[in-house]
């Protein structure tokens, strides 16, 4: 047993701050690595204090225990038939999850290590070291686990592959995460990654996903996500002290802008991944709440509390754009992902059987009139044996900020937008297309940061995709025929209440 309690020595050992004499503050903390937003001298940052403290010795002990536990679960379950017996929609959700998240977790280690070197207080750098180790672990474990399932689902290798391809969803994830942490300075990373994305979204999402995994019987994924979540909740706390320093020094507007920027971007990718999983891929009998209910009860409530606690305001787009999108945006994305299913590495589950449609109508009154009608036409085509009519012959336009297809016509049809047309913006002679006013606003905050990027459609029109056809694009995205997404239930949903699947093909 240590002779001293942690509280007797922790602050003294942790706060190794000192005044620089051999180099200037700017040389030690270049703005590109650590934007102080005008808060100088650096001593003003030394009051940074994390609420939950841990020593290195405790950290290693805890992490060793977590790894021993979760890898044991994986080892046992790998020898069982558990995965084969999971619902097809749930399998799709985790194949999508691993591809979108495993490598970004590893990349988050870059953001954490940048804070570990360029954080402006020793306490912060100390906490970011743990964060670096956390994210390295998360990258490794979320690559290892899917790889143990390769013999059952070969596309589990997209856990490593996805972020190294030009697949459109991978580009969307890369664009977001590069902005958030891979290519962000330490101060902005603390607010945009740890405060906005982790505290605001993923920490709560992982709690929900772990519960859902256990509910559907996926003990492997449940144990994995629970283990990761405990790390997230610790290193995510780097955001709060950083926001406090900005606010205390009169820079609440900076904190507000950083949060507003990244909340919107996180929301769109969150809707794409989590919205589809919760409302369409999770088996109906295991859904405890709708995506909208989850957003309202967890994400929205927590953000409003945070805004109030830190003297910030709800984002300018909160009432006008964000809350209305809860009713329609992810439904449109789901329809698009399903229709363009060859372009994703998982099998989208339509999730619109009669019972599921009843649930959707109950959770989203009016869903049948706004979204059910599309599925009616698609279902008719499938029942007539015209599968080709349910597959794409061209591309959707893609937003030049979130890199997600532009579904403004769905928002217009749902009565939430005044026009079906996208936002158009000309910058230095180039036309940019945005799916929403907030995406355009994020671009306008810092055009130099975003202007050089080209969307999938820009690259297609620029001749980078050859041949310039759907098959050419699929190959460019790294998708072989065996990897392309197919309907998760082989269209069973379209025939429920009609006739047996396959009859239409005769």
């Amino acid at each position: 047993m240590p002779a001293l309690r942690r509280s007797d020595w922790y602050d003294l050992a942790r706060d190794l701050n000192w005044n620089l004499s051999y180099v200037t503050e700017d040389e030690a903390f270049p703005e590109v690595m650590s934007n102080n937003y005008g808060i100088t001298p650096n001593e003003k940052w030394w009051g940074w204090d994390e609420p939950y403290k841990v020593s290195y010795r405790e950290y290693v002990h805890n992490q060793h225990g977590k790894d021993a536990s979760v890898y044991s679960v994986n080892s046992v379950i790998a020898r069982s038939r558990m995965f084969e017996e999971l619902d097809p929609g749930w399998k799709s959700a985790i194949v999508a999850h691993y591809g979108a998240i495993a490598v970004p977790e590893y990349l988050a280690g870059l953001g954490e290590s940048r804070m570990g070197r360029f954080g402006r207080a020793a306490a912060w750098r100390n906490m970011a070291l743990f964060g670096t180790l956390d994210e390295t672990r998360h990258g490794q474990i979320q690559t290892y686990f899917p790889y143990t399932l390769l013999d059952k689902e070969p596309r589990m290798d997209w856990a490593h592959k996805a972020l190294h391809t030009n697949e459109w969803g991978a580009i969307a994830a890369r664009h977001l995460f590069d902005d958030m942490f891979t290519a962000n300075d330490a101060v902005s990373t603390a607010i945009q990654l740890t405060f906005t994305f982790e505290t605001g979204f993923t920490n709560l999402q992982f709690l929900g996903m772990a519960a859902d995994a256990m509910e559907v019987g996926d003990l492997d994924f449940g144990a994995l996500i629970s283990s990761i979540q405990t790390d997230e909740s610790r290193h995510a706390q780097q955001g709060e002290p950083t926001v406090k320093i900005l606010v205390e020094n009169g820079y609440a507007d900076v904190a507000q802008r950083l949060v507003d920027h990244m909340f919107w971007r996180s929301w769109h990718v969150f809707a794409l991944l989590t919205g589809l999983s919760m409302d369409y891929y999770t088996p109906l009998e295991h859904r405890s709440h709708s995506f909208k209910e989850f957003m309202q009860e967890w994400i929205v409530k927590q953000f409003l509390d945070q805004f109030r606690d830190f003297g910030l305001e709800p984002s300018w787009y909160w009432e006008s754009h964000f809350l209305p999108e809860l009713d329609w945006y992810h439904h449109a994305l789901h329809l698009g992902v399903w229709f363009w299913r060859p372009t994703v590495w998982w099998n989208p589950d339509a999730g619109v059987s009669p019972a599921e449609r009843e649930w959707l109508e109950e959770k989203y009154p009016g869903w049948n009139d706004t979204f059910g009608v599309y599925w009616d036409t698609i279902g008719d085509n499938l029942r007539r044996g015209e599968e080709t009519k349910t597959l794409p012959e061209t591309f959707p336009m893609v937003c030049n900020m979130c890199q997600i297809p532009v579904v403004t016509p769905a928002g217009f049809r749902a009565g939430k937008l005044e026009s079906p047309e996208p936002q158009i913006h000309i910058h230095e002679g180039r036309q940019y297309v945005f799916c929403s006013e907030p995406c355009k606003w994020v671009f306008q905050l810092n055009p130099a940061r975003f202007a050089g990027h080209t969307s999938v459609v820009d690259r297609f029109l620029g001749g980078e995709i050859q041949p310039p056809t759907i098959p050419g694009a699929l190959e460019w995205m790294g998708l072989s025929p065996e990897e392309m997404g197919q309907d998760a239930t082989n269209y069973a949903w379209a025939f429920e209440g009609f006739e047996a699947p396959g009859a239409a093909a005769s």
Partner: protein
């Protein structure tokens, strides 16, 4: 004659599409080319004559994108009259 990309929106569809047309296509053909990707695919075919709306105005059915001054990736809506 030259291939010309536009952003097409078919009435009541949910997504903005990249639609390749020809610079010589009259708007009646442009409307058909937009409809091809959505009518009877995701939404029932609209009843009535299809017209093209650009920047809030209905274009002459015989006009081409050149006549109407539509730039590459201009947003054209196919709507039923």
């Amino acid at each position: 004659m030259a291939l010309f990309p536009i952003q097409g929106i078919y009435q009541d569809d949910f997504v903005v599409l990249l639609v390749p047309i020809d610079t010589e296509d009259p708007m009646t053909v442009v409307a058909e080319k937009i409809a091809h990707h959505a009518a009877g695919v995701r939404v029932p075919p609209a009843s009535g004559e299809l017209r093209i709306k650009y920047q809030g105005e209905l274009l002459d059915p015989e006009a081409t994108v050149v006549d109407a001054g539509v730039p590459p990736l201009g947003v054209l809506q196919a709507v039923a009259e």
